[in-house]
């Protein structure tokens, strides 16, 4: 908090997620009761506890029991992250941590959904009033949801980003937005937009002359990472493409109520936008924490679409958790793979081992014009924890990302 910290006061030594009450609200944010807020606070603390106090035990067990046990049984050390994970499945430390981490996610979904569902009718009315008749929302009810999204609900979120429970429904957008705090523990800041601010900062620093007029974001969901782009380039028009109607509706209502008006929301698959956007019609194509929820073929199609849609000299940037480089310890790789196997992120594992440079080249980008970088979530540090200074490793969840991109 902004108050001066006295030595020996609890505030001086507190290290952990902020109280949920600091979260930024807007016109389509659900009402949250005292107890609903405390449920979210508890779950954020559970994740913090698991990362800060339980994971070190899992690592110690890996070093002391799992790796030596494997070597003794096989006459060679663990050679792949899959071997590491499977060996850990035989160890109680990993299993207990996994069970608790999974349950925390399930509890988060139930808690967040209850809050939204109990006020669905009122929330849908509020949302509708904000976006009714607005041509910046273009929905396509006939859009087919690909199997890589429909087969398992990503991060155990029932109904994923697309399921609708009532006409003009906002439910799954509101659940995703208001309770995501449980997983991020505030690392993404007041409006869950620390990723977007990081991208803006990176672009202004590394591409100071870049003055985009037309920006396209694939898989923008409710616009968490997108709105900072629109705000940083007020003369530009930002278009968000996503598969899910509830997140797009919610996104437009949220953007308008936050006073960001240079954004449009289009329901379509980024795999194929022919007939919607012309070749070379964008200066900038952005994705943030998006690639890991695709499939190999979808990723290739989307890279190809980004190439088709960029004007010569335009820029594509993908922000993602780091790839599994050979120098990343197998324990870390196995821990990062957890979400793929146990948190319904099936493409996470495969995506993080792909040669993305080769994929960019395959999509038509020039290898010499490929961009690499790294960013940390940018938040109001008076209130929110700073990812760059946080030493807790919550494998795959930390607001520390790689940037891979290219100049078209």
């Amino acid at each position: 908090m902004a108050e001066t910290k006295r030595p020996n006061s609890p505030a001086a030594s507190y290290d952990g997620p902020p109280d949920y009450r600091v979260i930024g609200r807007h016109g389509v944010f659900p009402q949250t009761s005292h107890d609903e807020i405390e449920r979210i606070n508890f779950l954020a603390q559970m994740n913090r506890h698991l990362a800060a106090r339980v994971v070190p035990g899992v690592k110690a067990a890996y070093d002391a029991r799992v790796a030596p046990g494997f070597a003794a049984a096989h006459g060679r050390p663990i050679a792949t992250r899959h071997e590491a994970r499977k060996a850990m499945l035989e160890d109680p430390a990993f299993c207990t941590w996994s069970a608790l981490r999974r349950m925390t996610m399930e509890q988060r979904q139930q808690a967040g959904r209850w809050t939204v569902i109990r006020q669905r009718e009122e929330l849908n009315e509020r949302g509708k009033a904000l976006i009714e008749g607005d041509d910046r929302l273009v929905l396509n009810p006939a859009l087919a949801i690909p199997r890589y999204v429909s087969a398992v609900d990503h991060h155990c979120m029932p109904g994923s980003y697309h399921r609708e429970y009532a006409p003009d429904d906002f439910t799954n957008g509101a659940n995703y937005d208001h309770a995501g705090f449980v997983t991020t523990g505030g690392l993404l800041g007041k409006y869950s937009d620390g990723g977007g601010h990081a991208v803006v900062q990176w672009v202004k620093k590394n591409l100071p002359d870049f003055a985009p007029k037309k920006i396209l974001e694939f898989g923008g969901t409710v616009g968490h990472s997108s709105l900072p782009l629109a705000a940083a380039f007020p003369d530009a028009e930002l278009t968000i493409v996503d598969l899910g109607a509830p997140v797009l509706r919610y996104g437009l209502a949220r953007a308008k109520s936050l006073g960001i008006n240079n954004v449009r929301f289009v329901q379509a698959s980024a795999e194929d936008l022919t007939g919607i956007f012309e070749d070379g019609s964008f200066d900038w194509v952005q994705t943030t924490m998006f690639l890991h929820e695709l499939s190999t073929r979808a990723l290739r199609n989307i890279f190809a679409e980004s190439h088709r849609l960029l004007r010569p000299g335009g820029i594509v940037l993908h922000v993602e958790q780091p790839q599994y480089a050979p120098d990343m310890p197998l324990f870390e790789q196995a821990m990062r793979d957890w979400d793929a196997f146990y948190n319904n992120e099936p493409f996470w594992s495969r995506m993080h081992e792909m040669d993305l440079d080769a994929e960019m080249e395959r999509a038509g980008f020039d290898r010499a014009k490929i961009i690499h970088g790294g960013v940390y979530g940018v938040v109001d540090r008076e209130i929110f924890p700073d990812a760059a200074e946080d030493n807790t490793e919550d494998y795959g969840r930390k607001a520390a990302w790689h940037v891979i991109g290219a100049v078209a």
């Binding site: 999974r102 087969a151 029932p158 146990y342």
Partner: protein
């Protein structure tokens, strides 16, 4: 939407088979325990909020809760609440211990089979 629909939807299973890390019986009990832990935290924070509000409004004086001394009758009521609470939650321990002392306890299903045999 009925209340029951809302409960069902809030707790709906996500698409995708659930992994188990422990003996499923143990994992089920742990999942229930973790939800109880969550609800206990919520109840604790609510009591804390009440205390702080009462203090801010001057109804409650700093330290009053910590120095609170129930009179004999309140004390008995409170301690009995604790005893009842514990006994309620640890029912299965009591019943398993009772069972351990019985040599002629019979299952209702066995009795049912007996009764079929009796009729013949």
């Amino acid at each position: 939407m009925s209340f029951n629909d809302a409960l069902n939807e809030a707790g709906a299973k996500p698409a995708g088979k659930r992994p188990y890390f422990l003996d499923p019986q143990v994992e089920r009990v742990l999942a229930i325990t973790m939800s109880l832990m969550q609800e206990l935290a919520v109840a604790h924070q609510r009591a804390d909020t009440l205390e702080r509000l009462l203090k801010a409004k001057g109804v409650l004086v700093e330290g009053e809760i910590d120095t609170f001394a129930p009179d004999a009758s309140a004390s008995a009521e409170r301690q009995m609440w604790n005893q009842e609470y514990i006994a309620r939650i640890l029912r299965i321990v009591q019943q398993e211990n009772e069972a351990a002392t019985l040599s002629d306890d019979v299952a209702s299903g066995e009795m049912a089979d007996d009764m079929v045999r009796d009729a013949g």
